[in-house]
């Protein structure tokens, strides 16, 4: 074949190529393929071995998008409106109302999930799972806000007050929004705002008191943190000895043998349950149901989730699969378990508004 390229022919080919680029890079609705499932979830929630096995067994390609925040999921789903790019999201139980009111979730038909019975009975049908008579998610992991202490540096304690003890100045850390709720509890107020429905002035007064208290004690703090990995790193590096943390990251530290203890002080704390939820107008709803059923199929999956994330599993029979250290990390004395109140989905708008603002004020102070 005689191919002679001249400036002219090269330009022609280049022009042709340039004009074909829009076709080559055109957006393809890959998420609408029949053998695909798009999931938005937190890091270390879904065990890789399980996902790989599900893909092998069903031929469905699972695409996981990681998130680290409920707000981000809400905003992205809202932005995508009726054309969501994800089929399953991971919403905390107390955030259902916000997602449901915005028509972002589809109610779950638990009749299509044969393994629903494998959930611990309390998670099969709880008041917080139901809104408008429908169930909105598959509970997978449960957690709470705990007090974490370095057992070699801080004596055993039963009060959040230790976070404000001058002896530990510059050695504490917390997530500002979360700890504001805990501080409200510590000061004798309702950190979940449920009792403040229709009482915005009372809520604002309580919020301001907690805000001012945290500003006054800001010198105690080493760092505001956001992600569980940050607080883990600070404990490992001994940059802090005390922290408010979600039970998952703290339990992981215990499982790995670090000298920390997780507890629920006498003033109480708040708990939450992560659920896998079907997105409204999900392009692959059928595959989503298959996946939810597979997740609940065996306690091994739940045990694997607990080992990876540190959070307690909602599946029956997981306890028997955990070793002593893993069980100890995820367990609490009964007296402390009774101090956990689960976050409510009521009055969230008021809470979000006031807590977000107070958090910004604490940071700027």
């Amino acid at each position: 074949m005689d191919v002679r390229t001249t400036r002219r022919s090269a330009l022609k080919i280049l022009g042709g190529g340039a004009l074909s680029v829009p076709y080559i890079i055109r957006p393809r609705p890959g998420w609408a393929a029949t053998q695909v499932l798009n999931i938005t979830t937190y890091d270390k929630f879904l065990p890789k071995e399980f996902v790989d096995k599900f893909q092998r067994d069903t031929g469905i390609e699972v695409r996981i998008r990681l998130t680290d925040d409920q707000g981000k999921q809400y905003n992205l789903l809202t932005a995508e409106a009726s054309k969501p790019s994800t089929d399953i999201v991971t919403v905390a139980g107390h955030r259902f109302a916000q997602f449901v009111d915005s028509k972002l979730l589809a109610p779950l038909d638990t009749g299509r999930i044969a393994n629903w019975k494998n959930l611990i009975s309390v998670y099969q049908d709880s008041p917080w799972l139901r809104i408008n008579g429908n169930i909105w998610g598959t509970p997978i992991l449960a957690g709470y806000e705990g007090l974490v202490r370095n057992t070699e540096q801080v004596k055993d304690t039963d009060s959040w007050g230790v976070m404000f003890d001058p002896k530990y100045e510059g050695l504490t850390s917390y997530i500002v929004g979360d700890f504001l709720s805990i501080t409200m509890l510590y000061l004798g107020h309702d950190g979940d705002f449920v009792s403040y429905m229709g009482k915005s002035q009372e809520a604002q007064k309580a919020t301001n008191e907690a805000r001012d208290f945290l500003i006054k004690n800001k010198g105690m703090l080493r760092k505001f943190y956001d992600a569980g990995s940050e607080v883990q790193q600070m404990f490992i590096n001994e940059d802090i000895y005390l922290a408010q943390a979600w039970s998952g990251p703290a339990a992981k530290l215990i499982m790995e043998g670090h000298p920390v203890e997780l507890s629920v002080p006498k003033e109480g704390t708040y708990g939450f349950v992560y659920t896998l939820n079907l997105v409204n107008n999900a392009p692959n709803a059928e595959n989503a149901y298959k996946f939810l059923d597979a997740v609940l199929a065996s306690p091994e999956v739940g045990a694997s989730m607990t080992r990876q994330s540190g959070f307690a599993s909602t599946f029956s029979g997981v306890d028997k699969l955990l070793n002593e250290r893993e069980r100890k990390a995820a367990a609490l004395p009964q007296a402390q378990v009774e101090r956990i109140r689960f976050f409510s989905s009521q009055n969230r708008d008021m809470k979000n508004e006031m807590v977000d603002r107070a958090s910004a004020e604490i940071k700027a102070a």
């Binding site: 022009g15 042709g16 905003n75 510059g170 940059d239 700027a364």
Partner: protein
Amino acid sequence: MTQGATSAAHPPDERRAAPHYGSVFGHLASSTLYRSTIGAIVETRIGRLFLLVIVPLIWIVVFNLGPLFQVIRISFLANYPLEEGAEAAYTLSNYTAFFQEPIYYIPFIRSLIFSALATVVTLIVVYPIAYYIAKIVRPQRRTKALLLLLVPFWAGEIIRTFSVIMLLANRGAINMLLRELGLIDRPIPMLYSYFSLSFGVVYLVCLYMLLPLYSAIEKIPSPLLDAAADLGAGPLTRFRRVVLPLSRDGIVSGCSLVFLTCIGVFATPMLLGGPNTSLFPETIGAFFHGASDKWPIGAAFATILLVASLITAGLFMRVVGDRTTRLM
């Protein structure tokens, strides 16, 4: 250009005789459709130029300017993301909120001051290095020296930030070394302070200072320095009267680039900063990550930061630089 137009470079006969290479491209080039479209365009210099720039131009407009304009649009919306079927309502309240609340403008001012100081520190730290490579290292070794300095920048921002954490933590390299040497018995808290934040940010942006400075200093003719020395100028005078004025363009470019990078840096302050070092990008981020729907106010604040940083850098270039100064 129309088919019938003449071209000095290509006589009509040659233009009408379609080339045929016996390949898929030959068939394509000889087709009527091709000749009446792309073939017609490439007949002129302007047409060929258009074909060459159209793809990068589309890329810049769609992927660089597009998101920016979208952010600016969102900043004027009363609500975003919009509920399906909802009408977009426009407002200026997202911008006015910035001026009404100290919790918003205090981090903004803090960001401006911090970025300016970080820029000065970066200049002071990097200038001797740039001078050393440009004027003292033998020419054949300069490339190697530059390459050595560039290597850490092949890693991402997060990786480099974590390396700073590993260095400055209570159980980090520095504290461990001091403890091993018996100089301390308790770790020195270095992380989560203005010190660690500045250290991390300067490390992050020093390349943007190094390259323009090196480029400017390298161009200074060595005979000028020799002449100044012959005329009795000491090292300090030579630096003040010859090197500094002649490297002004590099200083202005470097400082502008570093300032613009510093003011927008997000992850490093989040990871290295302490409770009292909250900067404006963190404030903006909170609006996008928060529980409430606050994208418009976040977008407005991002726009304010963008405009303010461009004005500041522009003024700096105008005042300190000259007309020939360019960022790159």
